[in-house]
């Protein structure tokens, strides 16, 4: 039983990262009905950006005391800002002009954008895995045999805080309401005086910033990354968004944590473990979609952003 709960803890940490990435997929889909395939690569960029910041300020190992909080905050916020700006630029340069084009055109463009980002990262940091400094001391506590590490607390905590902030933003601010209105009816939103270009750019800014935060967290959690990291993580996060009901913010969070849990538990209990975990994850997706094509929260809470 301890093993099971141990995998639940591991799965939640994994799921926190997937959930943060899934939010970007689901927000962008909600507002312009585009599956932004470049989003997974923005997440990888987040790891590389935070790595660059840490190197720039000369951090290569564990940091203690108040400096730790400052450095973590600096790395997370810069990764979020840089990724956010990247997302806005991608939308402005690649997607905006195709907004009224047939749906296939922006989709292919998104795949192309993904290749561009991957190749740029390969040129920048090379084709091999790059180590990420172990900034955070990693004490762990045992609860009846279940080990919870500081990093896991950080991953889940950061994910939950970001999601809560996002919910408050979407439901309680004027700009958040403008985003929901634009997602529901673009023309009507314009007639309210909402500038939809700004609103769509804001959606990319926030979604990409969340991927940037996930990028930092994944660097800390795994201690390594490489240029292709976002391909699989992006695919799983996208799966999470679809599982929860694409376009649905709460669904993306739920889907992310569920995918993380399924992956961790499958790795533990299925003979052959890790090799089969992806098969299990995607089988779950197929099964859910057969019985609930709109995803878990796709109908009961049809709030898309």
């Amino acid at each position: 039983m301890e093993i099971f709960f141990q995998q639940v803890v591991n799965g939640l940490s994994l799921g926190g990262i997937y959930a943060l990435i899934a939010l970007g997929y689901t927000m962008v889909y909600g507002i312009i009905e585009l599956i932004n395939f470049a989003h997974g690569d923005v997440y990888t960029l987040g790891t590389f950006f935070s790595l660059a910041i840490l190197s720039a300020i000369g951090v290569s190992g564990e940091v203690h005391g108040p400096a730790l909080i400052g450095i973590v905050a600096l790395a997370v916020l810069s990764a979020m800002l840089l990724c956010g700006v990247t997302g806005v630029l991608i939308e402005r340069l690649a997607y905006r002009r195709l907004r009224n084009a047939p749906r296939l055109a922006p989709l292919i463009t998104a795949i192309g954008m993904s290749f561009i980002l991957e190749n740029v990262m390969q040129l920048w940091r090379g084709p091999s895995p790059v180590p990420f400094p172990q900034v955070i001391p990693n004490p762990s506590a045992s609860f009846g045999g279940v080990v919870v590490s500081a990093k896991q607390v950080l991953v889940v905590g950061l994910a939950v805080v970001m999601m809560a902030a996002l919910q408050v933003f979407i439901y309680n601010t004027k700009l958040g309401k403008a985003m929901r209105a634009t997602a529901q009816d673009r023309d009507a939103a314009q007639l309210m005086g909402i500038n939809i270009n700004t609103t769509i750019a804001l959606t990319f800014l926030i979604g990409s910033a969340l991927a940037g935060a996930a990028g930092f967290v994944s660097g800390v959690y795994y201690g390594t990354t490489w240029f292709f990291n976002g391909f699989e993580a992006g695919l799983k996060a996208f799966t999470a968004a679809v599982l929860g009901g694409i376009g649905n913010v709460a669904g993306a969070m739920l889907g992310g944590f569920l995918i993380g849990l399924v992956e961790a538990v499958a790795t533990q209990y299925i003979p052959g473990g890790a090799q089969w975990s992806n098969v299990v994850v995607f089988s779950v997706l197929v099964l859910v979609l057969i019985f609930r094509p709109s995803g878990l929260l796709g109908e009961s809470l049809p709030e898309k952003v």
């Binding site: 309401k177 007639l191 309210m192 005086g193 709030e303």
Partner: protein, 238 residues
């Protein structure tokens, strides 16, 4: 100088011409109605004024300044409210949120609050349903919400696209009463209607659109009396 002037406007959807050489004007304080059959181009005219579709040529001026290069949100800020065809309320948001979005361009919370009160005085039904999702409202209530939402921007010109469509005769009466009230309070109204009789009854002037062209233009009283208009839009020899 007229509040709104549309001059020689052409609009096409792809290769299909929707409006040719449309010219009309709306004076400060008037109710002007645009009548015509389905597909005549009434909705397209309003969409062109709002900037939702860009004319191929022509001029659209509001209060003397050119609207043609503005985006729809800028047109709203200039003082044009538009309650669109099919109501287009935000179905998954509450009545209150819909009304608040109507005031998106405005900054003074106290003014917005007093306008909200004003809208709820005009449409008491909305007051009873403030926390309800707009999608759960009846057709008539959604129409009230669409009009109320457009009023929340405190427009100088209110454009209403088929406000009576699909409503019971009793509700149609109510809506037309409301339009008169809105006009009496100083807002200029451009009213698109298929319900030509009722529209002409409250308007000062009217334009008749036929397949993208304005074919008649006169005072509402003359249009009501005109044989051609009666035959085409008012149910023959009524």
């Amino acid at each position: 100088m007229a509040l709104l002037e549309v001059e020689g406007v052409d609009v096409a959807y792809g290769r299909i011409r929707a409006l040719s050489r449309i010219s009309l004007r709306v004076e400060q304080g008037e109710i002007v109605t645009l009548i015509g059959a389905n597909g005549a181009g009434k909705t397209t005219t309003l969409r062109a004024i709002s900037g939702l579709i860009r004319p191929l040529r022509g001029a659209i001026r509001f209060d003397g300044s050119d609207l043609l290069r503005l985006t729809p949100d800028q047109v709203v800020r200039r003082g044009i409210g538009h309650s669109p065809e099919g109501r287009r309320v935000f179905a998954r948001m509450t009545v209150r949120e819909n009304l608040e979005l109507g005031a998106f361009t405005r900054d003074r919370a106290s003014e917005v609050a007093s306008d909200l009160k004003g809208v709820l005085t005009i449409f008491p039904r909305l007051g009873e349903r403030l926390v309800q999702k707009a999608g759960t409202l009846s057709g008539g209530e959604q129409q009230m919400l669409a009009i109320g939402r457009a009023l929340m921007s405190r427009p100088r010109l209110l454009m209403l696209d088929e406000p009576s469509l699909g409503l019971s005769p009793l509700l149609v009466q109510t809506i037309f009463e409301v339009i008169k009230r809105i006009s009496a309070s100083g807002t200029t109204v451009l009213l698109v209607e298929q319900n030509a009789h009722q529209a002409l009854a409250i308007a000062q002037r009217g334009y008749v659109l036929e397949v993208g062209k304005i074919v008649h233009e006169d005072s509402a009283a003359n249009l009501l009396a005109s044989d051609a208009v009666r035959a085409a839009y008012l149910g023959g020899a009524a």
